[in-house]
């Protein structure tokens, strides 16, 4: 139990997927304009990440490892993730249409969100069990959601400030992300 909590803390804060591993930057910058949209993307990523880590870990443990097909893990994981994203998309379209519309093109893009694949591969690398993998996925997703919602909050405030012309738009957002990453380095003491 203690190790599971450690895994969540370490993936969510210490090794934050966006701010210290630099995975999933595309959607991190793309969908952080509004807090509401970023929160729903965070939740969608949470759903995909948690389930995909479980399925990927199970596949690895029961199919790939016994057959000695370790080298196939990347391609199989991509298959799993793509299928799961499709399912989440269908689920959202049917049940939560408003969220489906506000996410737009970024929902199918979770497929290519390298954070999702990155977690599945790191789980294998760290030799996690299935349960540990699920918690690692959940922790990573929490870290991602926290980071993107915080950035969205900052960006909503930036819009009201007088930013010097050369920094307007993407540059100031990148600067904010940098400062956030430096702030998150403070968590490294936790491990």
């Amino acid at each position: 139990m203690k190790s599971l909590i450690m895994i969540i803390v370490s993936t969510a804060l210490v090794n934050n997927v966006v701010l210290s591993q630099f995975l999933g930057i595309c959607s991190f910058l793309g969908v952080s304009q509004q807090k509401k949209a970023s929160l729903s993307l965070g939740l969608a990523v949470t759903a995909v990440l948690t389930v995909s880590s479980a399925v990927a870990a199970a596949l690895y443990q029961f199919v790939l490892a016994p057959l000695g097909l370790d080298y196939l893990k990347t391609i199989v994981f991509i298959l799993v993730i793509a299928a799961l994203v499709q399912m989440v998309e269908m689920f959202l379209k049917k049940n939560v249409h408003a969220v489906y519309q506000s996410l737009g093109i970024y929902l199918p893009l979770i497929t290519t969100n390298c954070a999702v694949l990155g977690v599945a591969l790191t789980n294998v690398q760290n030799e996690y069990t299935i349960l540990e993998s699920v918690f690692a996925g959940l922790g990573t997703a929490i870290g991602y959601t926290v980071a993107i919602v915080l950035l969205a909050e900052i960006r909503e405030h930036i819009d009201e400030e007088a930013i010097p012309a050369p920094f307007r738009g993407a540059p100031i957002v990148l600067l904010c992300a940098t400062l956030m990453a430096m702030a998150f380095m403070g968590f490294s003491g936790l491990s």
Partner: protein
């Protein structure tokens, strides 16, 4: 050889299982989609560029069918495709002449001066809420760009301290006119030829004091116009676009050049 067969089989099996799962899911989560949305979607460019202001091509296709967006909402779509979309929806290709926004102020940094420096939130609406006028002309453009932020087409920019609309990019949505706290952005039909670029309702001498480009209500344009298209209202000239033929006599004679071709 065996490795090749095993790995191929494994991938094929995983793919098959996931494929079957997807088929089941798509049946279970099937949503009735308006057939027109799919057909309109096919007539769009499909690059999900986002220039229309919607979250991707699917979203704008739905908006077009619902009537929330114009049939030519997709910028850069070919006229042929726009006609196809119009046919699908049973609409005329162009509903009406699109309108175009124009800024009724010519108070550039040269023409008028700020009487104080504003250091608050970078937004006209916030500046107006502060209750103090920092420009010497209390009617004019503040140049903080609320309209620039709200324009979905990026058609407005701040040049020389005032907002300028690029008529080629403007789609006539009217968001800027609603947003401007000074109410100086007007909408006009594309056929309008001349308009007064000033909103100052004060008498001539008062206007002259604060801006060299303002309408001083002298009435020279009213006398010049052979069509009787220009009238004076609240010390401002007003051009009736239906009577105006665009001869340009008023533009030529205006002493402050506040009446201009669009």
């Amino acid at each position: 050889m065996q490795t090749v067969i095993i790995s191929t089989l494994v991938i094929a099996l995983v793919g098959l299982v996931l494929g079957l799962a997807l088929v089941t899911a798509s049946k279970k989560f099937y949503v009735e989609v308006d057939d027109r949305v799919t057909r309109v979607r096919e007539c769009l460019r499909g690059s999900n560029c986002g220039a229309c202001g919607y979250a991707g091509c699917d979203a704008v296709a739905e908006a077009i069918v619902k009537g929330e967006a114009r049939v030519d909402a997709c910028p850069g779509n070919s006229t042929e495709n726009i006609a196809k979309i119009a046919a699908i929806l049973g609409k005329e290709a162009i509903d009406q002449d699109p309108q175009c926004a124009y800024v009724q102020c010519a108070g550039t940094c040269e023409a008028t001066k700020a009487k104080a420096q504003y250091v608050g939130i970078d937004d006209c609406r916030a500046a107006v809420l502060s209750g103090l006028s920092f420009m010497s002309c209390e009617y004019g453009c503040l140049g903080l760009g609320s309209c620039v932020k709200v324009c979905p087409q990026g058609a407005i920019s701040i040049k020389d301290g005032i907002a300028v609309v690029n008529p080629r990019l403007c789609v006539g949505c009217g968001l800027c006119a609603k947003t401007c706290p000074k109410g100086i952005i007007g909408m006009h039909d594309r056929t309008t030829k001349v308009a007064v670029r000033c909103s100052n309702k004060n008498k001539g001498p008062m206007v002259k004091k604060v801006c060299t480009a303002g309408c001083i209500g002298c009435g020279i344009c009213v006398k010049q116009c052979e069509q009787g298209a220009i009238t004076l209202e609240n010390n401002l000239s007003r051009v009736d676009p239906e009577k105006c033929v665009g001869c340009g006599k008023c533009v030529e004679k205006c002493p402050t050049k506040s009446i201009r071709f669009l």
